[in-house]
């Protein structure tokens, strides 16, 4: 490639060299006036070269001249003619930065759209609950295969991570509790500490958070990519209700499996706590078990497990709803998947706080 050159001699622009997409920017086309443009020295030439010539020609025309193009080969003439047809007369005006009014408008739009989102998600909740009740009334329409498949995905496959997590939580509680309680010689109360915090709160809350990260995001991604490839529209035209086919089995599977995962988490949390108490405080497993049975009411377990189906509903609804919001592009899929996880974890924690207040008022 030789660099292109432009020179003004005797009222003629003389161009030389290769006018190609990679090189035309080096030409200075802004200065000087001439009656003709001579291309006889131009070797390689492409659309960008033709663009440069037409730009120059337009500038000369707007200065009141009528430039002639000379020395162009037939191919070059053709290409320049094509460009003349296809070039906008005025370049698009560059837009200025946003003003205060724009920002205010944006704020307003954001506020309204989040309100609309809230309403839409509540509407979706109603639709799913209605669909599930409809299925209960007509059990022949329940998709057992799908439910069992999702139960395996969200339940069975989550057992290792959930039980490891709860085991470690039990270990940490025992370890931290022991350090404090030893100061008062009240080592044995570590059993109550572990039992109440794991059974009432931590077991089910942390399980729900893990499931939201694991399965909520998977729901959004799966339904979202089906939405993207128009599979959901195809389903509707076949007379299939996407809520019944895609959403209901996932939500039902979660509602069934989250309590089970909660029980597993409770159990391994207690095991972790017991082992650590034994090592740190010398509380033998026998003593731990006896104290657990005599001092911890079974109601603590109940308080924890009652929350599980509600958490499951939140995770399932949010995950599927965000999936349904996906538009045609890949970016919205990624964006909504992360929204889905953040939103469902937030709502799970908010619901947990409400439950705490509720149980405090009931004094259980």
């Amino acid at each position: 490639m030789t660099r292109p050159q432009i020179a003004l001699s005797e009222g003629i622009f003389v161009l030389e060299g290769d006018l190609l997409i990679g090189t035309v920017e080096g030409l200075d086309l802004r200065h000087g006036l001439a009656e003709a443009i001579d291309l006889s020295g131009v070797r390689q030439f492409d659309t960008a070269g033709a663009w440069a010539i037409v730009t120059l020609e337009r500038r000369l025309q707007s200065a009141g001249l009528n430039p002639q193009i000379t020395g162009a080969s037939a191919l070059q003439t053709d290409l320049i003619a094509t460009l003349r047809q296809n070039m906008l007369l005025t370049e698009a005006p560059s837009t200025n930065g946003p003003t205060i009014a724009d920002r205010l408008e944006q704020l307003g739009r954001k506020a309204v759209s989040s309100l609309q989102q809230t309403l839409a998600i509540i509407g979706f909740l109603g639709q799913v609950v209605a669909t599930i009740f409809g299925l209960v009334l007509r059990p022949s329409r329940i998709r057992w295969t799908a439910i069992v498949h999702h139960m395996q995905q969200v339940g069975l496959n989550a057992v290792p991570i959930v039980s490891l997590m709860a085991f470690l939580i039990g270990v940490v509680l025992a370890f931290q509790g022991a350090a404090q309680l030893r100061q008062f010689g009240a080592e044995v109360f570590v059993v109550d500490l572990i039992a109440i915090s794991v059974l009432r709160e931590l077991g089910i809350l942390l399980t729900a958070i893990i499931v939201a990260g694991r399965s909520g995001s998977a729901f959004t991604a799966a339904i979202g990519s089906m939405k993207m490839r128009e599979e959901i529209d195809a389903m509707r035209t076949l007379g299939l209700d996407p809520v019944e086919v895609l959403v209901a089995p996932r939500v039902i599977a979660l509602i069934l499996m989250l309590p089970v995962l909660g029980i597993i988490a409770n159990f391994s949390g207690l095991v972790g706590g017991a082992i650590m108490s034994w090592i740190e405080l010398g509380v033998s497993p026998g003593v731990f078990q006896a104290r657990l049975a005599s001092n911890t009411g079974v109601w603590h377990l109940g308080v924890g497990l009652i929350k599980a189906p509600f958490f499951a509903l939140i995770i399932g609804i949010v995950g599927c709803f965000e999936g349904m919001q996906v538009k045609g592009n890949a970016e919205s899929l990624g964006h909504l998947t992360s929204t889905s996880v953040v939103l469902s974890i937030f709502l799970v924690i908010a619901a947990d706080a409400l439950f705490s207040i509720f149980f405090a008022i009931l004094e259980v």
Partner: protein, 258 residues
């Protein structure tokens, strides 16, 4: 033919697991011609295209483009080669998170160091050249019709003024007027830019209107190559059915009437 072919495929073998798609395929494409590749659905046209542009490593055989071996080039050589061709995939394959203008600018942004204004101006020209309205520039691919997506894909394929463009069924799914306009566009750009066009198509009208030569793919090989009229005389049931069926006769009659 004296000239060195711009694309040359020798003894190409491609497999997916046990399924052999090509077994010893040979094909030459000359500089500046429009070659039409036809063959039944699943005959391996798209796979051939992917092998030629180096997206798919064949099991065996030799593929040279611009006289350079595509199969085992270094990454640098491949990058240099890739600048000289443009590809339009069967379903457009636009980047869904970029608008049309950004899609067309993408190859310029990757390969060259242009100012944003120049890039925008060139992208606008390419978009107009493929016959899209100006307001399409700012639209996302999901907001375009199928035919518009194809045009935008074509605009991206010619963004860098390549020497070869590979087009996979550019006119499938277009209305007849749109398809004819697309054919005219390909022919016009070929003339203006001196393109070589590797055109996979089922569209008999396109084959008639713009292809210099046709290659028929069947049974993992190129069964025959030649002009449309030469195809009429080839004695093979599939070729006969394809080029002498009612649609082919209609296309031929139409051409003679003009």
């Amino acid at each position: 033919m004296a000239a060195e072919p711009i694309i040359s495929v020798r003894g190409l073998i491609t497999r997916f697991g046990k399924h052999t798609v090509h077994e010893g395929l040979d094909l030459d494409v000359q500089q500046g011609e429009i070659i039409g590749i036809v063959g039944g659905s699943g005959a391996g046209k798209s796979v051939l295209l992917r092998a030629v542009v180096g997206l798919l490593k064949p099991a065996d055989g030799q593929i040279t483009v611009f006289g350079e071996n595509v199969r085992d080039t270094s990454a640098d050589d491949y990058r240099r080669l890739r600048k000289r061709w443009g590809v339009m995939f069967q379903d457009g394959a636009l980047f869904s998170s970029l608008n049309v203008q950004q899609n067309v600018e993408a190859p310029m942004r990757e390969q060259l160091d242009l100012s944003p204004e120049t890039r925008a101006a060139l992208a606008a020209i390419k978009v107009r050249m493929v016959g899209l309205p100006d307001d399409a520039l700012k639209k996302m691919p999901s907001e375009l019709s199928g035919g518009m997506r194809k045009r935008a894909g074509f605009a991206r394929a010619i963004a860098l003024d390549p020497e070869i463009v590979f087009l996979d069924e550019p006119t499938a799914g277009l209305d007849p007027i749109g398809a004819a306009a697309f054919d005219a566009l390909i022919a016009q750009l070929r003339r203006a830019l001196g393109l070589t066009v590797f055109l996979v198509t089922h569209d008999l009208d396109s084959l008639h209107a713009i292809c210099d030569r046709i290659a028929v793919l069947a049974g993992g090989r190129v069964l025959a190559t030649g002009t449309m009229t030469e195809m009429q005389d080839i004695d093979h049931p599939w070729v006969q059915a394809y080029f002498k069926g009612p649609r082919a006769r209609a296309a031929l009659a139409q051409k003679e009437a003009i």
